[in-house]
């Protein structure tokens, strides 16, 4: 729509140009050669000076600026990359140290545990031995006591019997005959009294 109006207007404007041609003697000023040479001269002068200044002074500077910025940015990126790598390596080192120390701690713990277990085992062994010894001694004592017990009992039985007999009969009794009886009883019924 705008385009159509635009071109229509251009067409329209040319109509005006024609009218201008008709109305004034000048017509299109562009076709009036009066100032052509002047325009060419000033165009070459201004454009030439501008071209020289731009190409010799200004454009190299801009290109330099762009280049230096580019290189600086690249450098910065490189430095950042380097630092990242460094930090990565450090991180790795750090994690390695951590894992190492973890392992170390573990081994120390295990060693301590083992040592403690060993200690406990040794102490227990000693204790066990002591206890065993004590038990053995006690058993020995008990055995000794047990072994001695029938004799003592027999003695007591003989003495008691002799005392009783003395009191009953009123006369001295031969101990040896009583002991023979006790022995005889002991042999027959000892197991019943002292059996384990």
């Amino acid at each position: 729509m705008v385009k159509k109006i635009y071109f229509q207007s251009i067409f329209f404007s040319f109509f005006f140009i024609k009218e201008a041609f008709a109305a004034e003697s000048g017509g299109m000023p562009q076709l009036n050669p009066e100032f052509w040479v002047s325009q060419i001269f000033w165009l070459i002068l201004t454009f030439g000076i501008m071209y020289l200044v731009l190409s010799k002074l200004i454009l190299p500077k801009i290109s330099n600026n762009l280049e230096s910025r580019k290189s600086q940015i690249l450098e910065n990126i490189e430095a950042a990359e380097k630092q990242r790598e460094d930090s990565d390596a450090k991180l790795k080192e750090y994690s390695e140290i951590i894992s190492k120390s973890k392992l170390e701690a573990n081994s120390i713990f295990n060693q301590a545990k083992e040592k403690a277990l060993k200690d406990i085992g040794a102490k227990r062994e000693v204790l066990d031995k002591q206890i065993d010894n004590e038990i053995a001694e006690a058993e020995k004592e008990i055995d000794a006591l047990r072994k001695n017990a029938p004799d003592k009992i027999n003695k007591i039985a003989i003495e008691t019997s002799s005392e009783l007999l003395q009191k009953l009969i009123g006369a001295e009794v031969n101990n040896s005959s009583i002991s023979a009886i006790v022995d005889d009883l002991f042999k027959r019924n000892g197991d019943k009294y002292y059996g384990n």
């Binding site: 005006f16 100032f35 165009l43 190409s55 454009l59 600086q72």
Partner: protein
């Protein structure tokens, strides 16, 4: 009509008449705006290249963006061989752009709305490109007029067409810019005249058109400078890299 829409293109002398031999090289309003354009270009790009900070300020950014824009345009169309001509194409683009843009300010003169200015630029480009072509390829540059893969029967016709199209390059290049500028400015003047003649009652419609046209003309001013520069790049590409 209040004013002749063509009177804005009048060239008039400012100051005394200067004559060198038979030639009149007086300072005119056209000269004034050429000088204004070049001075503002030099000023802006000088300011934009003065400091080299990593974080560019606005004017430096403008200069560097223009630089990369033109440099990308050249490398895209004419390849890396066109590097030595960068400064020329950059100057050309900036000159045409600034002349066009200065013309958008009311009561100014549009340098590029004169056929003689655009034709001199186009003719210089045409001659320069042809000379570059012959220097780079010798008479092999004439192969440009003989496209490959054309049947032998059609060849004479094609060669004639190619030669005509080659020779019409400066004309098409100059007329395109000149006609665009002239037509746009004439049209704006015509609509402006309508605003006056239709008055407070009916003047609003052409006024709104004028507003829209101003935007369009600014676009055209940029676009024509771009087209001028990119066509130069394409011609240069033909001369540097003979594809036929």
């Amino acid at each position: 009509m209040a004013a002749n829409p063509m009177s804005q293109f009048d060239v008039y002398r400012i100051g005394p008449e200067i004559k060198v031999g038979a030639f009149d090289i007086s300072f005119t309003n056209a000269s004034l705006f050429m000088i204004l354009s070049t001075v503002s270009i030099l000023l802006i790009f000088n300011l934009g290249s003065k400091k080299n900070s990593i974080l560019p300020n606005k004017i430096q950014l403008l200069a560097e963006l223009s630089y990369t824009f033109v440099s990308k345009m050249i490398s895209d169309t004419a390849g890396s061989k066109a590097k030595p001509y960068f400064a020329f194409i950059f100057s050309l683009f900036m000159f045409v752009l600034f002349c066009n843009m200065f013309g958008m300010i009311p009561y100014t003169f549009t340098v590029t709305s004169h056929i003689i200015v655009t034709f001199v630029l186009a003719a210089f480009i045409f001659i320069g490109v042809t000379v570059i072509g012959f220097i780079k390829h010798g008479f092999g540059y004439l192969k440009l007029f003989v496209p490959s893969g054309v049947p032998a029967v059609l060849l004479p016709l094609i060669v004639v067409i190619e030669i005509i199209s080659y020779l019409s390059r400066p004309i098409s290049l100059s007329v395109r810019l000149f006609a665009n500028m002239m037509a746009g400015h004439t049209m704006m003047k015509v609509f402006g005249g309508f605003v006056i003649s239709l008055g407070i009652v009916g003047g609003w419609l052409p006024l709104s058109f004028s507003v829209a046209l101003t935007g369009l003309e600014i676009l055209v001013a940029f676009l024509q400078a771009y087209v001028f520069a990119i066509l130069t790049c394409i011609y240069l590409n033909d001369a540097l890299n003979l594809h036929h």
